[in-house]
Amino acid sequence: MSATPRNLLPLLVLPAVAVNLFTFLWPMLNLAGLSFREGLPGGGIGAAFSLATWGDLLADEFYLEILLRSVGMALGITGLALLASYPIAFFVHRADARWRNLLVVACISPLLISAVVRTYGWLVILGDAGFLPVILRGLGFAPPRLVFNMTGVVIGLVEILMPYMILSLLAGFGRLNQTLEEAAASLGAPPLVVFWRIVLPLTLPGILLGCLLVFVLTVSSFITPKLLGGGRVLLLATEIYDQAIVTLNWPLAAALSLIALGVFGAALLVYGRISRAAERSIA
């Protein structure tokens, strides 16, 4: 404390607070306010307070469909990412110390690679003349279309978000103790029962955190749905972009943004509820 006199404190935090006010608080409040204005044809914005934007939004089933599709897709991707990540995390957790670090780096290294590059990688694999369709045709199958539809978006996002799930699971696996499983098994519990009654409950906090992360990251993902969906998979994030950049209806884009934030808030609430209940059931 002696190194930073009390009267210096405001001065020290001033730059960071100024950046936050100018690039975060002010723009976000401005955005919220804009949703209560009317978008005029040609990109104009009405000057007066108006509920027209919210009225149009809530009356149009198209936006309800987009919301349901976004949330449904995010739930599906969360489940798939969990299924794909759990064995990896379990394997890494149990690996020898000298392999463990290498495997952890392999799991998180995709995080350091641009989402555009990784999505492009999926176009290379799933595209009509790509790796997977060519192999499938070689084996005598007629592969369905794998890109520019929901299938491609789901496959790409599951892979792109898996590192977050693996990291969360690994953090949660710290509570796992092999002697506990061995005790259960030596008392005659079959492997599946050991997994269901011992391993799963103990690793639940990590599972829940991973699910929360993947869910909110899916809802806010834009690059992958845009490129792998080819403009045919309409979600909250892509619709916000289209309204803002193509249609130039900023009040509508602002209102859709607030709905996306609402989905985030709801996800946090559900997460809080479930994890408290889970903690109680373990304790």
């Binding site: 002696s2 641009s114 290379v124 969360s168 803002a244 943004s257």
Partner: protein, 268 residues
């Protein structure tokens, strides 16, 4: 749990397949970047370095790359200058609202980037900041200062305050304690923060998409628009270079401080 023969083999094969799924897109980009074809075909009809040579004939991408590097360098310097004093205040000071301040500054990382980008677009249009360096730098500070602050606060937390207290009790003025004791001890944290800020800025695409103008764009945004309109192996060549660049930077980070310690407090 899994120790018997067939079960163990099945589990190992499953994990290998899942790893292949996780790393496949990045790994397949490498052979494709050496394809001799003019569109993506599998397998490539032959191998060549023509797409790497073609990169030299892409002045737009070269300019975007230069912009991205300059931007990331400016943002790295500014983010550290902004975050370091705040980190010292939060890490060493005891004041009301410390946690609230940390939450406020971390908040942008918790919200969808598409919403942040839109909010900045609407505000920046009025200020004439769209398509300007100032606008890009400010937008990138929004998402990099939180990382820098986190890493620096963590780094300060691992330093014993007693050394600083000893220096100041011997009469050293506060500023000289900071520059001669605290700052040198924080070097690994500063390197980690700089590397993370550089990577985040260099990779940022969604927010940047809203802020760029026709005359000023970054590499990820240029690549996004390129992939949106066509998919030829040129992007594979760029991707390979970007992957190698990222891995190189991470290797530097790993040597300087240890990767997992550096990203430990990040939490996605």
């Amino acid at each position: 749990m899994i120790r018997s023969g067939p079960g163990r083999l099945f589990f190992t094969v499953l994990v290998a397949l899942l790893f292949l799924f996780l790393l496949g897109p990045v790994l397949l980009v490498f052979p494709l970047s050496f394809a001799a074809d003019s569109v993506i075909t599998w397998p490539p009809s032959g191998f060549s370095v023509k797409w790497y040579l073609a990169l030299l004939g892409q002045p737009d991408l070269a300019l975007a790359l230069r912009n991205s590097l300059v931007l990331a360098a400016i943002v790295t310097g500014l983010a550290l200058v902004v975050a370091l004093p705040a980190a010292v205040a939060i890490g060493r000071g005891q004041f009301a609202g410390r946690d609230a301040l940390m939450t406020l500054i971390s908040m942008p990382l918790l919200l969808p980037t598409i919403v942040l980008g839109l909010a900045l677009l609407i505000l920046f249009v009025g200020q004439g900041l769209i398509g300007s360096w100032t606008g890009l730098v400010l937008a990138h500070l929004l998402v990099t200062v939180p990382y820098a602050l986190r890493v620096l606060v963590t780094a300060l937390g691992t330093l014993p305050a007693s050394v600083e207290e000893a220096a100041s009790s011997l009469g050293a003025p506060a500023l000289s304690v900071f520059f001669r004791i605290t700052l040198p001890l924080m070097a690994p944290g500063l390197i980690a923060a700089a590397a993370i800020v550089f990577l985040v800025s260099f990779d940022e695409v969604v927010i940047t998409l809203f802020i760029v103008g026709p005359k000023l764009t970054t590499l990820p945004v240029a690549l996004f628009h390129y992939v949106e309109s066509r998919t030829d192996p040129l992007v594979a060549a760029v991707s390979v270079l970007m992957v190698l660049f990222s891995l190189g930077l991470v290797a530097v980070l790993e040597r300087a401080v240890g990767l997992r310690r550096a990203v430990g407090g990040k939490g996605g």
